[in-house]
Symmetry: C2
Subunit: 262 residues, 2 copies
Amino acid sequence: MNLATATPSEVRQLIRKGEIDAQTSGMCNGYAQANMAVLPKDLAFDFLLFTQRNKKPCPVLDVTEVGSPVPKLVAPTADLRHDIPRYRIYRHGELTDEVTDVEKYWRDDLVAFLLGCSFSFEGPMLEAGLEVRHITDQHNVPMYKTNIECIPAGVFHGPMVVSMRPMKPADAIRAVQITTRMPFVHGAPIHIGDPEAIGIKDIDKPNFGERSEIKPGEIPVFWACGVTPQAVAMAVKPEFMITHAPGYMFITDVLNAELSIM
Amino acid sequence: MNLATATPSEVRQLIRKGEIDAQTSGMCNGYAQANMAVLPKDLAFDFLLFTQRNKKPCPVLDVTEVGSPVPKLVAPTADLRHDIPRYRIYRHGELTDEVTDVEKYWRDDLVAFLLGCSFSFEGPMLEAGLEVRHITDQHNVPMYKTNIECIPAGVFHGPMVVSMRPMKPADAIRAVQITTRMPFVHGAPIHIGDPEAIGIKDIDKPNFGERSEIKPGEIPVFWACGVTPQAVAMAVKPEFMITHAPGYMFITDVLNAELSIM
């Protein structure tokens, strides 16, 4: 099976059977992939409120009913206990397990949050003829903690994490237009140019991911990043939390094009 | 004081002192006004999730911390117990009081939701030279229950309520463009043309508000309406609930222009 052109439900079946244990980048072209954070119900209201208050870094695609592993809106035939290739289990903020199935960890009081990711706007950028440096150079996108504080909600608070793509100024302008069309998946950039203005001391030393080369005449363009809500959730050291493993995303039935307002 | 050009905090002070007891339409031009629904904390997660799943009819502008009457994001100097000209108190779904201050009703377990309203996109329409019929004719916008079911969340479910504005086709197209720019305040229309296609039997008999005349050559244009979440909340007959009285809105410090993505 060609995983790039397979449907999300076909690929999720292979993941569920244990036949895929790989990062999901490049699978099911055109379909939105999602970050997952699973928290106990007693933290769910504050976390949902945090995402509501910080829409740019926290683009909610779906939230399950308490105890249900089924993301009814974005993939009604999926089961979040089996259909992600790799999971991480955290207890009191400590990573305790990395597993390929979380059925035995599931509890009746858990709520799963699926959060959009920048794959959704990188497709339209490539289609528009823009270069996305970390895709060209085949490495992870560089991500940075900033000095921009998210709006707190209940117990959750912390700095915004951003991803960076170097671009020629004309391409940066086009990228603003393209991502403005996607207000529900990070939306327009939050900053262009001087990294120090948002508290980034060394652009060559990202906090997460890998360095991207900034060529002469290019400027760095910064988008709010979906790592933000996970970092914020982790900082609270919740008694129990499940996430996807980095790069091993949940593949939804939603087309990226459906997440665009025009 | 000219209430049309006064600042939101000036007008809220007059409301707080009891010197204004009137509908807020036309006050503080350019600033977003909000619907309010206050619910006990035990319903707040489901209601927040309902708004998240039904963004078009439920454009959340702010949600207070549990027990706090201060909408920190949209009006940090305001107090929701005093700063709305008229409130309604519901017990088990029954309207029990209509009052001008709710301090004596406030409880430590209450969460206030402020939801955007269509005033925010009618300003930009008028500025673009479009006629808004119910403003021309000085009556309330006509609103209809549709056969479009909202996506349920926990105990909350119900049909989408829409508002209708009659327009010439060219103006309808322009109105789609203008409201597309405001995805966080209802966004683009949900339907154009045949009312029966969304379950409206008689366009001359709105369920709420008043009839608008549809002139020859005009088509009805339908937007998701902020009455939806109130109707949905009411249907659950919550033990206790506070809302604004219809037309007596909360005036925020947020410019409508800030709610536009371009």
